[in-house]
Amino acid sequence: MTRETIWVEVLSRTHEVISRHRIDLDLQVSPLDPTEPANPTTRSRAIRVGRAYENDVILDDPHVAAHHLSLSMDENGTWFAQDMGSINGLYLSRGRQKQSRIKLTEDTVITVGGTLLRVRSRAAAVAPERAMPPARHGWKAAILVLMLALGLVLLQSWLSRTGETSWTAMIGQLIVIGGALLIWVGGWSLDSRFYSGQAKYERHFYIAAAGLLAIIFVAATSDILAFALSSSPVAEYSFMATMIVIGITIFNHMREVSSRHMRLKIAGAAAIAALGIGVGSLSRSESSTNTQTAQYLRQLKPPATRLVPSKTEEVFFAGAEKLKDRLDRARTEEQSGGIAAGALDFDD
């Protein structure tokens, strides 16, 4: 075999290919002094890389020397990268040690100035073909979910309206939600475009709209459920469900950006949800300590939504009587400067 084709690939930080340079080599030409100018028709086994226009691969990177490195093959067919006396030198992509010569395999990534390079021959193996994901969630689905979410917002605002209907307020609400959604989706699409080259706008749109729908659904149902079950914790801690929904939504977005580092992404999304829950709980506990505001269910719903049976007066006032002990304990405990007892305490 006298002719060989080599691909020099410029990679992104995440090792996605930004550009590929095809170089045809004539192997019959004996190895030359790499400093000698390349012959445009019959190339030597050495490929020159640098910022100068004499090079086979030109890198427009200010941290790359005019003649930065040469790539050459030895008798055994192994490729090597050789530093040609640059200031910034030659590194393995994950290495910290400046190298003068690096042995290249199909997967070796080298750093030249600020640029990542990989050299592959025609024989390089590629990943098997991946099946297309089933054609779900196109624009139609995304818009349908968004309409559902906005419809739920309108329904909720209509059901809680007790004064005159203000159309501007309603439309304004939709514009604010829609605008925020567009900014959110735009951010994730940019991210996707940056890391995986595809914006996947409709996928991100679908994920965001589904998240919005879930959040609004949680908000709408938690009040009704809290009233129906006569359980103020349901209303008070519904923000936790909201935070979990936000965590899941962020995870879905991240998964759509790229499918790498999944464990890290799961951990990141969980951390965001946990942070939200933590800050929310802390602010609740602080505000209940610092204010004398009574904590009770303030959102009434139609009597028909009640699910739990009514108590008799005796049972209710027996419960009220029990509060006395807690108050008397709080009277002595808090006096000694302790954090208010019972901020997160429902055991009655």
Partner: protein
């Protein structure tokens, strides 16, 4: 708040301790005001020493037929050596933090003032100290001997003996004063000098659980604790409060409460066979004493309330309990005439006692409030009507006091069926919230809130707030209140 307090509440202010900021500004703006010296009057005073345990009355120094101005002049001349200004000073700064007045009532130097004049010192003697100043400018230390928070009175001890002193008017003690009788209030308003103010006696205040004399005369902050005397110079009452936003509507604590507290202080002194100097109240004793007084006071108040029970008023299809006692002041309002037309009707009534016991500047207690709001949907659906109710589903205000004075609110709430009579029983949602007073065991602020749950387009929201109440009394009145909310009998 569905019911704005400003619509209902009639505010009384204590003629309270003159606030520091005001005093300071005033002194700066009017440097010459410091130069004002009290007029030199006759120093003659009847040196009648009285036997402990009895009240000896001095003979009237003036005839009632004298011209008015001359009467005031004579009254003041006789009163002057017995008047005091009572200052509370921040010990660290040595400057006054509140001012009031007082008057000497025994030859051995006991004086009466308002509790609210000495409350800072009484509760926090480590931070504050107390001193008196006479119209001549003599100053001296004061000791606190006894307090009566329910009548806002205190007995203090001056640091020397042989004082001329005031006596109580026997006609004031037995309540035989005539409406329109001329009276003279004295004290040192705004720290600008001792003042005598002429006014008239207008009987006891109606609609008040506490006995208070209605004095038609000008009173100002700083006069608190000063005496109001009849033409013969004998004490009828102790200056205590005035109504804000009105003219010359002032209140006095009747003399008999002063006499009783003085008796108590003296009695303690005799019992312990100790000098008054050793009887000074420590903050612990003061707190215990105030706690006892609050407990006794609310016990009597709630006994009366529970005996009287409630009368029911009808609101739409509901019957709501209303207080019977005459000392509740009741008001009503509606949103019916509002523009834009309300989408649900809301008729509210509110009854409260105009009774606030002053404990400290930030803690007033003792009031009871009962209010009802009847709501009926005009064109709201069930969810919208529930949202409308939610806006009005608030606890009544159950008293002042921050974290320093009360614990956090602890609440319990549930769906409850009121009453045992099936025809009249009513499903409701009831909230019970209570806070405990930190300094006074067995005293709480309790708030009850109920909303009927039998219809989706009509409801009655009922509120009961009790401040400074024992838990047992709160439970008793709360139960009575909830079980009195019922469905009105259908009239055929």
């Amino acid at each position: 708040m569905p019911i704005k307090r400003s619509h209902f509440a009639i505010a009384c202010v204590w003629l309270a301790p003159l606030p520091f900021v005001f005093a300071f500004t005033f002194a700066q703006a009017n440097p010459q005001s410091k130069l004002l010296k009290p007029p030199q009057g006759s120093m003659s005073a009847p040196a009648v020493s009285i036997a402990p345990g009895s009240i000896t009355l001095i003979t009237p120094p003036v005839a009632a037929t004298m011209p008015v101005s001359a009467a005031a002049e004579t009254v003041y001349a006789a009163a002057r050596p017995r008047l005091l200004q009572i200052r509370t000073l921040l010990t660290a700064a040595g400057k006054q933090s509140s001012l009031g007045s007082g008057f000497v009532v025994t030859a051995d130097g006991m004086a009466i003032t308002n509790y609210h004049v000495v409350s800072q010192y009484a509760l926090e003697p480590a931070t504050y100290r107390m001193e008196y100043a006479t119209p001549e400018g003599t100053k001296g230390a004061l000791k606190l001997l006894a307090v009566d928070v329910t009548n806002d009175l205190a007995v203090v001890q001056l640091d020397k003996n042989d004082y001329p002193f005031f006596t109580f008017n026997p006609r004031a003690i037995d309540g035989s004063l005539a409406k329109g009788e001329r009276m003279y209030a004295m004290g040192n308003p705004h720290d600008i000098g001792f003042t005598i103010v002429e006014g008239t006696y207008n009987n006891l205040v109606d609609k008040s659980y506490q006995e208070r004399i209605h004095f038609s005369g000008a009173m100002n902050p700083g006069m608190s604790g000063g005496p109001t005397v009849s033409v013969d110079g004998r004490v009828i009452g102790i200056n205590v409060a005035k109504r804000v936003g009105s003219d010359l509507v002032s209140f006095l604590v009747p003399a008999r409460f002063g006499a009783a507290l003085l008796e108590r202080a003296r009695h303690t002194m005799l019992e312990t066979r100790a000098g008054a100097q050793d009887l000074a109240l420590t903050p612990e004793k003061t707190r215990i004493e105030i706690g006892k007084q609050l407990t006794a006071w609310q016990a009597a108040l709630y006994k009366t309330l529970l005996e009287q029970g409630f009368r029911t008023t009808t609101s739409g299809p509901y019957q709501a309990p209303e207080p019977v006692a005459a000392w509740f002041s009741c008001w009503a309002r509606t949103n019916g005439e509002q523009i834009p037309k309300p989408r649900a009707l809301l008729n509210s009534t509110q009854c409260n006692t105009q009774t606030w016991l002053f404990i400290s500047n930030n803690l007033q207690t003792g009031a009871i409030e009962i209010s009802h709001s009847y709501a009926k949907s005009i064109d709201l659906n069930a969810f919208q009507f529930a949202a409308f109710l939610s806006q009005n589903y608030n606890l009544a205000w159950s008293g002042s006091g921050g974290r320093k004075y009360v614990t956090q609110n602890q609440c319990t709430e549930d769906f409850v069926v009121s009453g045992t009579d099936n025809a009249k029983s009513l499903p409701m949602r009831v909230v019970w919230c209570a806070k405990a007073f930190r300094d006074f065991p067995e005293i709480y602020n309790v708030s009850v809130l109920a909303v009927t749950q039998d219809k989706s387009d009509q409801a009655l929201i009922s509120r009961l707030a009790m401040s400074g109440v024992s838990y047992a009394n709160a439970l008793a009145l709360g139960k009575r209140f909830i079980s009195s909310i019922s469905v009105a009998e259908v009239i055929k």
